[in-house]
Subunit: 420 residues, 2 copies
Amino acid sequence: MDAKAEALAAAAAVDEARLWSRQMAMAEIGATEKGGVNRAALSDEDRRARRLMVEWAGDLGFEVATDGIANLYIRLPGRQADAAPVVTGSHLDSQPRGGRFDGAYGVVGGFEALEAIARAGVETERPIDLVAWTNEEGGRFQPGAMGSAVFAGVLSLEDQLGLVDLQGVTLEDALAETLASTPGLEQRPFGHPFAAYVEAHIEQGPRLENAGTTIGAVTGIQGLYWYTVEVRGEEAHAGTTPLKARKDALKAAAHMVHALGGLMADETDTTRFTVGRFECHPGSPATVPSRVLFTIDFRHPDPAVIARIKPNIEPVCKVNAQGCAVSIRPTIDNAPLQFDPAVIDMVEGYAARLGHSVMRMPSGAGHDAGHINHLCPTGMIFVPCERGVSHNEAENATPADLAAGARTLAACLVDLANQE
Amino acid sequence: MDAKAEALAAAAAVDEARLWSRQMAMAEIGATEKGGVNRAALSDEDRRARRLMVEWAGDLGFEVATDGIANLYIRLPGRQADAAPVVTGSHLDSQPRGGRFDGAYGVVGGFEALEAIARAGVETERPIDLVAWTNEEGGRFQPGAMGSAVFAGVLSLEDQLGLVDLQGVTLEDALAETLASTPGLEQRPFGHPFAAYVEAHIEQGPRLENAGTTIGAVTGIQGLYWYTVEVRGEEAHAGTTPLKARKDALKAAAHMVHALGGLMADETDTTRFTVGRFECHPGSPATVPSRVLFTIDFRHPDPAVIARIKPNIEPVCKVNAQGCAVSIRPTIDNAPLQFDPAVIDMVEGYAARLGHSVMRMPSGAGHDAGHINHLCPTGMIFVPCERGVSHNEAENATPADLAAGARTLAACLVDLANQE
């Protein structure tokens, strides 16, 4: 068999029912009454999920390793034992009231790809590693995407050890307990070389479903910018103070939101603009508000659009201040990133060869792949999620779509693992 | 002397220094560090203020009475002991961080008018009563203007007795303690006849100061309408959900506020429109808000304008709902009220005769006079307050303006108390 034929043979060995059965087994760990999961990073539930992965790996004879932040590695060996592996993976932790697929699909679906490759009898030059990154959600310990960030050297492990959750538990203690729960594993260094990285994930948005398309060949992660806007006016009596004499922080902030909507207007519906937090003080019906605090979440994949909008956010707020004082503080400033063109092409190509409809699309959310993209050729595979609902117990996906993603992933992993 | 001459003679006996000295003595009771007062209704401070009034009344030989809700009456007798009295007054309770003059001026200035009339040797046909109404502010027990409302039969005393303040004290207990603090007083029935009622008050707005005018001949109390608006959308991921697929409760509510501002637009700057409370849920920067609750406070003195605006409030909200569900609940619906034309003319006439600049104006805030207006010919006298600041420890007024108001009040009381 040539390399392409081997890739397609591995894909053909993906078993939809086996994959779905494993997804459901994983979803039982931390299951919530409403059908979601609550599996906080480094919690008992997270440890049970890890042990389940180790158990599955043992059943198939795959090697298991870890590192200093408990990222968990499962290896399908290659002919060249010392070659840098091709890697797939995602995360097992969830939002407090999260869904069954966000993260878990990238790990369980990645495991299915490894099993399919093995069962197809396909042997690659490079090893293929599956990784479950620690604490992607950041629900218990902030920031999220911590395991991949520490691996990539964006964060230092030492700086994270003192973090404390709401119950007063330090990350250091939770981490030690987690590492102790899977004893005897090989320890890998942070930043050890990857030949390539491909992450499978549910889309967490409605574009694939709306387009009737099964596979998203992810082109990159859109830029993400957060601002906190503080508007300061003057308290005044609602009955007696003429409108022209007021400095009304609420009305000024409402005008800012309205005007920012105009700045963000986009016929292609690509721009994401959200005001998620909005606080009004003192909050008495008969008192003109003196202070409003609100957040801006602005995202776009295109640096040219970002370059046009970003410098106008502060001026648009100030022009609509209506006599109030305005201060704007940036809190997140993540430029958009592009995945490797060859990996994008490969995802698109194998999806089509396997008979799946496919489209190129940026990722709206951040992922571990964002950190790994700085280390090696990286890409992502999206599958549809029902109505685009994610970070929600109602999150759902179909067995067929999950299998289609695993097939595409298996093919890409084999192809990449046979490249020099 | 004819009746007008007696009225002017009484006014001439008003003593600016004595009035100011009494205002400052009253302001010491419940004084706050920042120069305001904290004198909750039926509190120890309120009782001290009442005892001070009783002491001053005793010094001048004025009779003191009370009623079942501890409204406090001080009488300057008339020739006809049994005739319905002409009444002036206001309240001694304050906002938690209130000013020295809101309410207290109407009581202390009313006392100055009584003293001036007595010292001028003017004897009127009817008695002249000063009343300190209980619990106008409603800061401790809601609603406010309780004493005048119970007096006027708008509220029943029985319904108020079970009210509980934040410390768990019932109104019944606080009232009993207050009545016991001024023992042996004559008990008057609620709703006993008044011949007329004139209340002096600081304006609580900036119109007199801006116009350089000393006396406001108050024409009535503007209409007051409160609504609670609930906007229900759908939680969604800020990074992945296209704007066109969202039901964003925050943006819809901001558009409503913006559009309501257009509906309320008024070149004469008479309309009062305030959104004082605005809550946004769930309040996470990366989540599209699913629920916003905000209040509307709309006021205007003119029934024709109210009739044009009121029916449009709900449609304007619904037109700007952007796919969200909107429900609007009215919580206050107080039609504007007009004071007695003869009393307004009289205030205007005496202010001018006494050499004070005077203008007609509606009251932006509610007052005890609003309830009494239903019982007898009623009017109000406004004096300027600095920068229009009220319900605030920085509230201020000048001795000269307070004296001008007391002079105008004294003249009106004498004139009214000599009418059949």
